[in-house]
């Protein structure tokens, strides 16, 4: 269903609140993968607040849609979404990274309520998504599995093993998304290990590829609408994003792949987020 003006505003407001919470988590946890958490914040927001059929009151509901954060290092972006969705209180996020906390740099599905799959080692998520897709088909269930990958993650050969099988098995119940922020730890993706022609690669592997602006809710909604109704080819949404999106001094700055920040820096970051979102 196309996005309405009202819906768009609601999602943008939610994403703004999420980004502010991501900064809180950065401070509480002593450091986080802030850049890649901010780059996928809009993708996570539209998934959890428009598309995924999930029930925080019944987190193990067997017909729920599944979400796999294959770029598991963005847990600092993902776990606050689950809190906002109501799986647990936002106050619990204060324990992030601390002794005995369910929340760490990479998410653990046996500890985090609402997290479907543990992740953190790159190149694993898409295979697990393929397995969930095959399982759903065999069981006659209609749930979708959405898998969010990082672009740097696609250097891992196992991603392409999974891509081959999703295409081979025609798993249109699996939706792949790449957070294409063009930076990895050691620099630009194209300098460290070139991914381009990236869209062509996915097309050659049998995917229906949509290249969109991953911060534009109209484009995100169009892409997910198409993905949700795919019947012929599996869908890959290449979401072009900005690493560190929303915080001016973090945007496209490789230093903020992983960083810690004191309360003063966090305050500046929050001010920047509020400014960029039009003072909400």
């Amino acid at each position: 269903m196309p996005i309405t003006q009202e819906e768009r505003q609601m999602l943008e407001k939610t994403a703004c609140e999420l980004r502010l919470k991501i900064i809180d988590v950065m401070e509480w946890s002593g450091g986080s993968h802030i850049g890649g958490s901010l780059s996928c914040a809009d993708i996570l927001t539209i998934l959890y607040f428009k598309y995924l059929r999930v029930d925080p009151g019944n987190p193990c509901w067997e017909d729920r849609d599944r979400f796999i954060l294959s770029k598991g290092h963005a847990a600092a972006g993902f776990i606050p979404v689950l809190a906002k969705k109501g799986y647990f209180s936002e106050d619990e996020l204060r324990t992030f990274n601390h002794f005995g906390s369910p929340f760490a740099m990479h998410p653990d599905s046996n500890k985090v309520v609402g997290c479907d799959v543990s992740s953190g080692s790159l190149g694993h998520g898409l295979s697990i998504a393929a397995g969930l897709g095959l399982g759903a088909r065999y069981l006659g269930k209609s749930f979708k599995t959405v898998c969010l990958l990082g672009d740097g993650e696609c250097c891992e050969g196992s991603v392409w093993e999974a891509a081959m099988s999703i295409s081979h098995f025609k798993l249109t119940n699996v939706i792949a998304v790449v957070d294409r922020n063009r930076l990895m730890i050691d620099g630009k993706t194209e300098d460290v290990m070139a991914l381009e022609p990236f869209a062509e690669k996915w097309r050659a592997f049998g995917f229906d590829v949509m290249e969109i602006n991953g911060h534009d809710y109209t484009q995100l909604a169009e892409a997910f609408d198409k993905a949700w109704s795919a019947t012929e080819k599996p869908v890959m949404i290449l979401a072009n994003t900005i690493k560190g999106k929303g915080v001016d001094f973090m945007e496209n700055n490789v230093v903020y792949h992983y960083a810690s920040a004191d309360s003063q820096v966090c305050r500046k970051a929050k001010e920047s987020i509020l400014r960029s979102m039009g003072g909400m």
Binding site: H124, S127, I128, G131, E161
Partner: protein, 337 residues
């Protein structure tokens, strides 16, 4: 005929059928009553004999091509969907090529994926070292949540495959290439995962073995009785993890001389698990781990390699005789220190 007959199905001739053949047929039978069982392989359907399940249930069998990492990830996803996946490939690829997927996707998430790995040890000797696997027990048993099983023959493979479905977490079952003579004459014995089986009674010495070494150890015990008048106990430690500590301690108390025999590197396998139990007990013991002595095996057909590495009855007899000649260190020496 030495037969395997599960609850509802026709007997399989365990004397002429390999352990993997029996595995494939057992799984195909189990699939009839348990709709949650699904199968995955990485272009080794026929080789691992999971093909019998594939033929019976093509709609719940997935061949992912030559991509073991993907196979383990897909198995994890199938388990996440509420199914019980059996994943089959050769042991060397299951434990190493896809080792991180097994650890992170399956063991860490504690998913009920059953990995049935064939061609373990040096059973595929003539294939060369790339296809040997003398590391898998060490790798698999160091993964938390993982149950590790090494059946003695085809009948026991069938029992292990049936029993592993009741384990809520991941299970690794290693079997050989096949053609090994059976140990059991029928399936009429009590098999429980984690509970070792005494195959030959004895009071002078204990051999704790797994896999192909079980039959060879029984033959060694019989010869030692006849030729040396030795009373040698043989334990089939089919479950490497969790190890049956009670049975180890009982043998320690009764015989004070223990030899472990396994088709695996002496580092990290059955021998080390038994050694840990003995060390923890605080009791003195003449003890040795026998297996592959931290080297890549030479090339040859399996039976020639078993003979070369002393994993046959003759080699085991030599080990036992040399250990019978060893004396316990007198306690006075300890007091001097």
């Amino acid at each position: 005929m030495t037969a395997v007959t599960g609850t509802n199905w026709t007997a399989y001739d365990a004397a002429t059928m390999t352990a993997r053949e029996i595995y494939g047929r057992t799984l195909a039978q189990m699939g009839k009553t348990n709709k949650k069982i699904v199968g995955v392989t990485a272009d080794l359907s026929k080789t691992t004999a999971i093909v019998h399940f594939e033929k019976a249930f093509p709609e719940r069998f997935f061949n992912v091509g030559i991509a073991e990492q993907n196979m383990m990830g897909i198995a994890a996803g199938l388990a996440k969907a509420g199914l019980i996946p059996f994943a089959s490939t050769m042991a060397v690829f299951a434990s190493m090529r896809a080792g991180e997927q097994v650890r992170t996707d399956i063991a860490y998430q504690n998913l009920p994926v059953k990995i049935i790995a064939t061609h373990a040890g040096i059973s595929f000797g003539h294939a060369g070292t790339t296809h040997h696997c003398t590391e898998d027990l060490a790798i698999m048993k160091s993964m938390a949540n993982m149950t590790v099983i090494c059946p003695a023959d085809g009948i026991e493979t069938s029992k292990a495959v049936q029993a592993c479905v009741d384990i809520p977490g991941p299970v690794y079952i290693r079997i050989g290439r096949g053609f090994e003579p059976p140990v059991y004459e029928s399936e009429a014995y009590d098999y429980r995962i984690g509970k070792a089986i005494t195959m030959h009674e004895g009071t002078d010495f204990t051999i704790i073995a797994c896999g192909i070494a079980v039959l060879q150890s029984i033959q060694a015990a019989k010869t030692l009785k006849e030729q040396d008048g030795l009373s040698v106990r043989v334990i089939n430690m089919h479950t490497i993890k969790p190890i049956d500590e009670d049975t180890v301690l009982e043998s320690l108390k009764d015989t004070r001389r223990i030899l472990t025999v396994e088709e695996h590197n002496v580092i990290g396998g059955l021998g080390d698990s038994v050694a840990s139990v003995i060390a923890k007990s605080g009791k003195g013991c003449i003890f040795k781990k026998h297996g592959i002595y931290d080297e890549y095996a030479t090339i040859g057909y399996a039976e020639d390699l078993y003979s070369h590495y002393g994993l046959d009855a003759n080699g085991i007899i030599d080990q036992v005789r040399s250990m019978m000649g060893m004396e316990f260190e007198a306690d006075e020496n300890w007091e001097d220190e």
